[in-house]
């Protein structure tokens, strides 16, 4: 199994590992998922930039389009985000609908979903069922692609347009973190508008309270980070502070 200290080696052997994927998928379809389990674990651990090599587009099509959709198809999409197209997203959404709700699968699904939602061509192919995975609130890694691209104003608008308070709340709780800044000011404006308009009514005070608590937590973490970094600030000879 891939661990943190293996990352360099995994990266240097990413093409060899990717070559095994079609065979691993074939084995999984035949009821032997161990190899695919190991490969997905390795891919997640290394973030596998090698999958973005042109010749591996075929693997994406192979793994998502062949056979019945399974929980593995739901996870595999995360590895090929750059190659997702309309047909593949439809296939992925079908796989997600039958996948069991586990923490690991939820991480993959939400990461891929936020990427898909940022693309206006792919967005119509997401379903309400796919969005409901947000409510499982998986613990995304601090610097995941989904967490970063998920703050794009298009995504904020897309989630608001669902008019589902639980999904919207889960989305905001997932995205607000001390790790990733918002995409730009229009994202912030959209979120502020959402707080005013979507969480301003009667009967959803507990949602508002949860969001405020999350914001307080993130701000405390940011304050703590600033205090830690300020301890390393030293005055220069000219009197201007330099970090």
């Amino acid at each position: 199994m891939a661990e943190a200290e293996d990352l360099d080696e995994l990266h240097s052997k990413r093409k060899a590992v990717a070559t095994l994927l079609p065979y691993a998928v074939w084995l999984e379809r035949a009821g032997e998922p161990k190899m695919l389990d190991a490969l997905l674990h390795a891919a997640r651990a290394s973030r596998m930039p090698g999958f973005h090599v042109v010749s591996y587009r075929a693997i994406c099509r192979y793994t998502l389009l062949r056979g019945k959709p399974s929980c593995y198809s739901a996870c595999i999409a995360q590895l090929f985000l750059a190659y997702l197209r309309e047909g593949l997203v439809q296939r992925w959404a079908a796989a997600v609908s039958v996948a069991p709700h586990t923490e690991e699968i939820a991480q993959s699904v939400v990461d891929a979903l936020l990427w898909v939602a940022s693309n206006h061509i792919l967005l119509p192919y997401t379903t309400i069922n796919t969005w409901s995975w947000l409510t499982t609130r998986p613990s995304l890694p601090p610097f995941s692609m989904g967490r970063y691209i998920g703050t794009h104003p298009n995504v904020v608008r897309a989630v608001r347009s669902l008019e589902d308070t639980k999904v919207l709340k889960a989305y905001l709780l997932l995205l607000w973190s001390e790790w990733i800044p918002l995409w730009d000011k229009s994202s912030l404006d959209e979120m502020c508008a959402s707080m005013r308009e979507d969480f301003g009514g009667i009967g959803i005070g507990h949602h508002r309270a949860d969001l405020i608590q999350r914001l307080d937590h993130s701000l405390r973490q940011l304050d703590w980070g600033l205090e830690s970094s300020s301890s390393t600030i030293r005055p220069s000879r000219t009197g201007i502070f330099r970090i």
């Binding site: 052997k13 093409k15 990717a18 070559t19 095994l20 079609p22 065979y23 010749s55 075929a58 192979y62």
Partner: protein, 103 residues
């Protein structure tokens, strides 16, 4: 045998070689896979155990992506090519016709 012949062309031309259109008979596929496995092991040793040529790794990818799957011997050779690139030692036990990979 067009695929085997391409190994004789200059290196820069191999960079653009694609296996996508290569649809051999099962017999030819087995022969090419076995030859490429031996070549991969030779090249791997010569490169001081660093890498198998990309062309051969792409052959393995192409073969393992075929549907229906190629003959078992081709699958075994392709997996051995990948195992070679990963630095595993492959022990062939002729008596049982099995191959074991030592990691």
């Amino acid at each position: 045998m067009n695929a085997a012949c391409c190994l004789l062309v200059p290196q820069w031309k191999l960079l653009y070689f694609r296996w996508g259109d290569y649809k051999p008979s099962p017999h030819e596929h087995s022969m090419v896979a076995r030859s490429l496995l031996k070549l991969a092991q030779f090249k791997y040793q010569r490169s001081q155990r660093v890498k198998v040529p990309r062309l051969i790794l792409r052959f393995a990818l192409h073969s393992l992506s075929l549907y229906p799957p190629p003959p078992t011997s081709v699958i075994a050779d392709c997996l051995s090519i990948v195992a070679t690139d990963l630095g595993c030692d492959i022990a062939l036990i002729m008596e049982f016709g099995e191959r074991w990979v030592c990691i």
